[in-house]
Subunit: 330 residues, 2 copies
């Protein structure tokens, strides 16, 4: 397959290349595309140095699959050039996620939707993917009546420059120096803030709405009952989430562990007596979503807490996109 990566120099783009290589995706030729600014840079793929080219209307000629991760604006402008060249687009931006003609896919959950594509398949929001992966098997078995989530989101969700900004600002704070931020609206070093995506009319930020509406689309349940508070914490690259879930069918903590032990892409990590649970540094650079701390919530019938952590760049983005591509070629 001739594969194009649009946004190859970004944090997700780089991980897409790593994942293609690591999973031995059948790449006959790889085309690395980015904005003019990054054109000419060289990136390694399977031991070879490959030059980054400027993303243009005619970039996709002869390509089979294009993985897009260069932001919504770029996807809205260039995805159609790829599809009109007969190239399948797997898009990591939010551009097409809620388009009813475009499948939004987490392969472990709704791989069947892949076949319905008309040239574009959307990759869900990272926080949503990480949550849905353990939530889906629990929901399938016990039916979730209501899900309440608080997130602890890493810098990587805002890209490579955001990760660097967190590091640089932290250095400046430690040295007592001033620092001019370019990505985040507020101090991030030793601080946190509710997610900085735009505020929507319903009083929730865009990120919180994505968790609600994308989950409903992925689960094929228009009324799936979920609410979120999204928060950015000064962590580099894995998102954590505290999930409170009320179930319809009678469940026990042991049964939920059993369900999750069998769940694809999910890994239970805990040492209960020693109060040791998944942490961002555990999940960083790992494929699985880590789960632990499943415990009964005594304040409501048949309710439970879960603690989950997942690499935002891998299963939250690049890995999920490549998994979709794998299903496509199957």
């Amino acid at each position: 397959m001739k594969v194009a990566v649009a946004g190859a120099t970004g944090s997700v783009g780089c991980e897409m290349m790593n994942v293609l290589e690591k999973r031995d995706f059948p790449v006959s030729e790889i085309l690395l595309l980015a904005s003019e600014r990054s054109s000419g840079k060289k990136l390694k793929f399977k031991g070879e140095e490959i030059e980054v080219k400027t993303l243009k209307e005619d970039s996709f000629k002869g390509c089979d699959i294009a993985l897009f991760s260069a932001g919504k604006k770029v996807s809205l402008e260039f995805a159609r050039y790829a599809t009109s060249s007969g190239c399948l687009v797997i898009d990591n931006s939010s551009a097409f996620r809620m388009d009813k003609d475009i499948p939004l896919v987490i392969p472990e959950i709704n791989q069947g939707d892949i076949a319905l594509n008309k040239g574009i398949i959307a990759n869900p929001n990272c926080t949503t993917i990480i949550m849905c992966l353990p939530l889906w098997p629990i929901h399938k078995r016990f039916r979730a009546k209501r899900v309440v989530v608080a997130t602890y989101q890493a810098a990587s969700g805002a890209g490579m420059r955001a990760m660097n900004e967190l590091l640089d600002e932290t250095k400046a704070v430690l040295l007592g120096e001033s620092y001019e931020r370019k990505i985040f609206p507020f101090q991030y070093a030793f601080n946190l803030f509710p997610h900085n995506s735009p505020m929507m009319d319903n009083g929730y930020c865009e990120e919180e709405n994505k968790m609600v509406f994308e989950t409903r689309k992925i689960f094929h349940e228009e009324n799936f009952n979920i609410t979120a508070t999204c928060v950015r914490v000064p962590v580099l690259r894995a998102h954590s989430e505290a999930i409170n879930i009320e179930l319809e069918e009678e469940a026990s903590v042991d049964e939920i562990y059993e369900v999750l032990k069998e769940a694809p892409g999910v890994k239970i990590l805990e040492d209960r007596p020693n109060n040791r649970w998944p942490m961002p540094i555990d999940a960083s650079c790992e494929d699985e979503v880590f789960v632990g701390r499943i415990r009964k919530d005594p304040t409501q019938r048949n309710s439970f807490w879960l603690w989950i952590v997942g690499d935002q760049l891998l299963k939250g983005a690049a890995l999920n996109a490549v998994q979709i591509a794998e299903y496509v070629i199957k």
Copy 2:
């Protein structure tokens, strides 16, 4: 009043002295007490250098009020020497909080309990105080049916050495150097972990249980329905909490804002169109608990989200203790 501060060299002890001075508490003499290790150190109070003395059985002779903040073990050992000298103890540790003969007080909520003391008054857990301050007036007006909390807790909750450990470990991580932790069990720099207090039999950590049982005692409601997930985030000195609350009496977002505008010790801080809400750096070194992002939770009847941030060392500890002392002398 002759006032003793036991644990004067700790982070809360230092803030106790600041608060006594700032609020012009009628101190005729101040006695600074600490372990032998800190004995001889000099600390400033009202412009004067005061030598720290070793905490001993006979330290409290002639004292009127002793503010304890040197940990549970020290309180369990030395509080009785203070009370037997006729000195009133206001204790910031967890030693006496759940003792049914000892009042546990947030003055804005249950100042009436102060009069019931028999020589010791307990200061609640920091995360609990910060949550209860805005929660109480909402509960009084609309009756809370169920409260679900996820916390974002700062290093200061584990003391001054913990704050320094976060700074030092962060420096080491930035320099790529190894670092030997003494306070926290896991990497804290650019990472987070579920609260490191001991695990209890019910599957919750001690900190989470404190939020449940102390709130019930302060509110005088044995069955107050609250559940928490407590998490340490790499922030220096203010705790944040995402609170989901289901109310019995019909309420609106506007009505909740109205209630909180009138609530003592609570300050609303937000700029909704610009997605600007309370942050730890806003609340650090401030007396009030900051609240914002009150919004309807559409997944359940009469349910709402709140976002709160409070200085863990001030209202969460030193300020609340000194406020109790102020009520005592009134």
